[in-house]
Symmetry: C2
Subunit: 731 residues, 2 copies
């Protein structure tokens, strides 16, 4: 009888983690400060379940209903769970994935409420969410579910009540949000093993998830239902897919476990992933190993001081910066490309997808250059391979598909930054430059040709024209910097000229960036507070500052520092009126500043450029302390695959990459009295700010390794050399 | 025992049709002159199977192998048949469809040769192809297969040898050419009935075919194989679909029949289609009724004189003009739109898809205005609904999908012609004009915005720029004509100006239309014989003449009639050199004139515009007699959904729509001594040319209802008024 040994293992595990759950808060176990439930309420749109760092599997509970708030499957105010599925998006505005969904239950099954299949109510009181571990009791079935995951596999442990009808549903038919099943396969291999696939259409237009799953004990009976879809969207009606029902004898009270591997390649890939990563049912060993992995990653930064709530918000943010991009290959290296074909992996480099680049080029990828230089190289290789297979660098790839969401060609700053920081081998640099230049010359893509010809994207010929102009110009500057480093002078000249195109949409009379027509005239009736089709998810206030590459030039355009400062002050003061209807992505508002969306993210740091760092400090302190918390609604906007959190991680340490490719960081004001970054080379970089607090956020003096800093900026190589940035806070 | 009655029905049917097969050639039975095997050899790319006029089902044999020559499933030189499937394309360059494929066989089954599944060899000696009927004996199984079809259903009659193992495979997994199975469903409803679907990706990116099928007798056993795909294209590997195997007792020698309905909507739609169109197994009744239907359509034109081969080529051509566009809805009116949604039908109007508009706006749709005014209205409604669902008029829709194949917005001439000819109700005209104008102002689509701004599509910013410029200009002229008729003067002015944009790509120094850069310069090193990315499937010679809307203007650009004539003469004389490698679509060459592709189709008629009709007559006569025949290789190029054949139908009668929207026809030289068009209103229009022959193709005198014609042109309203065009041939 095996129960005792398993029970004792469970007890041991409980003892190990009990102290964490109780709040042990040490440098050894920063994972204890991660609360994956932060951001599951409000607009954060994150999931509370488990993932390995940058893992392909995100095994997490789904409430079973659709809607903007349930885009990651789970919304704190909900009270139901209708499955645990293996793929989720971390804080986007797009509802996709939710593949390979399981639901344990005991008859009688609760069904029949709208979209929910078999479901149960649950209580947050009986729910535990940690880095690498999630657990909840399903009230209706008196069944505890525990989840762990490796990179490509998930394991679930179901502790049923003593019953001969312990039932596990494997639902390949589930529809939520944008995700529709287009077909499935569910084969019973033996009395413990099943395999198959689920194909779906959604945001990723062609998503194929193969899986292999094994239960820890034989099922005593099973039934595979072929269900025919019925949706309000007639496009997805009448499609057959499968729900498996597996019944186990749990009269001995022993838990039933299931381990599941997924693959985007084929069944054989899924089989290999399972054998390589999760060969047995050692649930607690996986949990322990994953906790150790997370601690290894999280301990790359150590913060001291602040409140426990602030440290919890910080380590949870740091955790969230490692939930995307996601690994997207099999253990044998193979992966599905944007051309729909299966590719052999690049030796020594794993493949990644889920690049939310419009968001993450700003701070998430810059953070990776400090903490994950090896992954930075692998992500660069992934992007270059994507370019070779797709004809251009990725814009917003998901599950290997190009979704063409958002704008710009922001793989360019990511690659340029990595190359300029020396994180890519010299042998890659020509390939990087070529891919960037080819992408920036895809004249047929989103008005790049027009942009080159006119110097801006004309508003009468394309949508989001103002935003495209400004973002193309930034990306062009990045190419110029890379070209200069490589001694490619004529390319440098070509792209540095293009990078000045932001000037072509600056309207001197209004002092704003404005959408412009192809005949050179301005689109009439410009209102900087208005959200129009010319500006991506934003208004004229928010996009005025989208000149990270040449803040000095922008200051000149705006007729000097005084005017620039006045405009910035207005930005933070001009509160939306009660009658203004703000779009769904304009959240975290401080005046017209919208911390809930990315175009604002560098704006508070711009005061540094006109000699007014005290105002940067004021607004950074305000944002750190009002737009983030350790509560379920602790994110003020979509997490966006790590960018909201990366802003917090940088800013809480006291510096931020306004222009990542400049390799220079603007100093804001830290949240903690001490932050220590463990550098990849072995040293540390420490920011100290004794006495810093909500009241004492202003910096009187800055020294780096004892020498006074002349300006509120610090360089990449200064940080990487290690040492101490000492900030003396004003009394 | 039912054999005798079935046998007697078969015998009766054989008697009825025997005389046809023997060559009865009368006005009562023009279908006897249809040979669907014409064009199955050479580049015609047509299928030999059965279809109702404009039907949704095209039930036809497939050789079972892929390749350019097998794009319609069947290639005359092949010796194998590996299935009879329900959907095919008539003469395109794109290999898609082949849905719901059956194969009768008797053990031992022949398999194992490459792509072929279960197959048999066959001989053309044991094959019969007629309008609405096809039959072949499968040698390996001594089994005769006969096919008939209604609009949405196909019926097959299998006469097996006496065997208890008469087997029918239903293959939902078959892959050919661009078509890959993405999923299928095969359910046995009872011992005679099966239903399900096949989803595939190919040229149509999302093709869903639901079906219901019933056998005429119970199967004694069945087996459904789930097959997992293995292709050289890894994108389509590992996908499950089904092959059903149904075994019948045919020891009594009675044939086994199967009737199958398809639907793009759902199973219920397929069920209704079967009940409405093919409620029983009365194979011969369907055959007789379909023959009558085809005769009703074919007898709309009667030709006299010529050889039997010429009349066969003519009626086969006329037949082929009615194989596309295809009906695309269910009997209850519902259909799948380009938005992927299911739409209720427009009352009183059936929905069509498979519009090969770049080809068919030239002569096929004009022919429909004479022969099928009711369908012209329905096709217009279909296009307008497509516009509402897709945001623009169709470009190349297939199975409800927009494939975006080829260029232009050539739904515009089709709609404008129909409206100008008074075939659309007045209440539709505003909707037509709006849809045309909106489509022509889709600035984000294929450089339409650039075209409007620069007056041409710049070659450095888009591909096929020269062809796009010229075709947009023609379509704009069509909008202008429609606007003028509707009294919309400012719209007329706007679009008539756009229609002159062809002038912007005429290079005076070379005397050719040339691709032009966005800075106004010409693309260097222009060679009019070269096939480049700037010109759609053609070279500079072939696109020089793409100004159907303003031939007089083109004559002036080319510095007068002498230069124009000289260039035309050169066009027909400048033969490709042996070392020139011509692209696959450049066939039917007479000099640089390529009758095998559409841009050349009006060119021989251009001599009429400069007072040299004798040269039009010379080349039209040559094309009629050298580029078409009654042999399997009787088409010199892709049939292109009726356009190659419509050229022949018009030209063989003696006139052709150089510019369909002008409502004026250029007179060429007829193939027949007499052609009578039965007009929709009840009268007839007759072209007489006594003594016309290969030698006597030149016209001495033309009179219309006894009055001499001043120019070699005749107007729509003159034809529709009925009467006789008398052509006196030169001795």
């Amino acid at each position: 009888m095996k129960m005792p040994s398993i029970l004792s293992a469970m007890l041991a595990a409980s003892l190990v983690f009990a102290s964490c759950a109780d709040g042990r808060d040490s440098a050894d176990d920063p994972a204890a400060l991660v609360d994956p439930l932060i951001g599951t309420d409000g607009p954060g749109n994150v999931y509370p379940g488990v993932s390995a760092p940058f893992g392909m599997v995100q095994l997490s509970p789904d409430n079973g209903t659709s809607g903007w708030d349930r885009i990651a499957g789970y919304f704190w105010p909900d009270t139901t769970i209708a499955g645990f599925s293996h793929t989720h998006l971390s804080g986007t505005g797009a509802g996709d994935l939710y593949d390979i969904s399981y639901m344990p239950a005991v008859p009688p099954f609760k069904t029949g409420r709208g979209e929910l299949g078999v479901y149960s109510v649950f209580s947050h009181d009986e729910e535990t969410a940690q880095a690498g571990y999630y657990s909840v009791r399903l009230e209706d079935y008196d069944t505890r579910v525990e989840l762990v995951a490796t990179e490509r596999c998930g394991m679930q442990r179901y502790t049923f009540p003593q019953t001969a009808e312990a039932t596990v549903f494997l639902n390949l038919a589930k529809h939520m949000n944008w995700d529709y099943t287009m077909g499935s396969s569910l084969r019973v291999v033996d009395d413990r093993t099943v395999e198959g696939y689920r194909f779906s259409e959604g945001w990723a237009p062609d998503q194929r998830v193969w899986f292999v799953a094994q239960f820890s004990q034989p099922f005593v009976s099973y039934d595979i239902d072929t269900v025919v879809s019925v949706h309000s969207d007639s496009a997805y009606n009448g499609i057959e897919s499968h729900i498996g029902k597996f019944v186990f004898d749990a009269t001995d009270g022993a838990p039933v476990l299931v381990r599941t591997a997924i693959s985007a390649v084929d069944i054989e890939g899924a089989r290999r992933n399972l054998a390589a990563e999760m060969p047995d049912f050692a649930f607690d060993s996986v949990r322990t190993a994953q906790r150790a992995l997370w601690n290894a990653e999280l301990s790359k930064i150590e913060v001291k001081g602040g409140t426990r709530a602030e440290r919890t918000a910080f380590y949870t943010a740091l955790y969230r910066t490692m939930l995307a991009p996601t690994l997207f290959d099999d253990t044998d290296g193979r992966y599905a490309g944007p051309d729909g074909k299966i590719h052999a992996g690049t030796p020594g480099s794993r493949n990644y997808s889920t690049f939310s680049l419009w968001d993450t080029y700003r701070a998430a990828h810059p953070l990776y250059t400090f903490l994950h230089p090896g992954r930075v190289r692998e992500m660069a290789v992934s992007m270059l391979n994507f370019h070779d297979q797709h004809g251009m660098l990725p814009v917003w790839p998901l599950w290997g598909n190009e979704t063409d969401m958002m704008i710009g060609y922001h793989a360019v700053p990511v690659l340029a930054e990595a190359a300029l920081k020396g994180l890519l081998p010299d042998s890659m640099q020509n390939r990087v430059l070529t891919a960037c230049v080819e992408t920036a010359n895809r004249d047929d893509y989103r008005s790049i040709g027009l942009y080159k010809r006119l110097g801006y994207v004309p508003a009468d010929l394309d949508k989001e024209s103002l935003s495209k102009t400004l973002e193309y110009a930034y990306d062009d500057y990045c190419i110029a910097q890379l070209a200069r480093k490589m001694g490619r002078d004529s390319l440098y000249n070509e792209f540095i000229v293009r990078s000045k195109n932001y000037m072509n949409v600056f309207q001197p009379a209004s002092g704003f960036m404005q959408p412009r027509l192809s005949d050179g005239e301005w689109v009439p009736d410009f209102d900087p507070k208005a959200y129009t089709e010319h500006i991506t998810e934003s208004n004229g206030w928010q996009y005025l500052w989208a000149v990270q590459q040449d803040v000095e030039g922008l200051v000149r355009l705006m007729r000097g520092p005084q005017q620039f400062e006045k405009r910035l002050d207005e930005m933070f003061a001009l509160h939306p009126e009660a009658t203004d209807s703000l779009p769904i992505f304009s959240t975290g508002m401080i005046g017209q500043y919208a911390h809930g969306n990315e175009p604002s993210h560098h704006v508070a740091y711009l005061y540094n450029y006109i000699g007014k760092p005290e105002k940067t400090q004021r607004y950074v302190s305000e944002i750190l302390r009002t737009q983030y918390s350790d509560r379920p609604d602790g994110l003020c906007g979509n997490e966006d695959c790590g960018q909201m959190s990366a802003w917090y991680v940088f800013s809480a340490m006291g510096f931020y990459p306004v222009d990542p490719v400049s390799l220079t960081y603007a100093i804001g004001t830290p949240l903690f009295e001490e932050s220590v970054v463990r550098l990849p080379g072995g040293g540390t970089f420490t920011v100290r700010a004794p006495g810093v607090s909500a009241e004492r956020y202003r910096i009187e003096k800055m020294t780096l390794n004892g020498k006074a800093l002349g300006t509120p900026f610090i360089a990449w190589n200064e940080i990487m050399a290690g040492g101490v940035l000492e900030l003396t806070m004003k009394k």
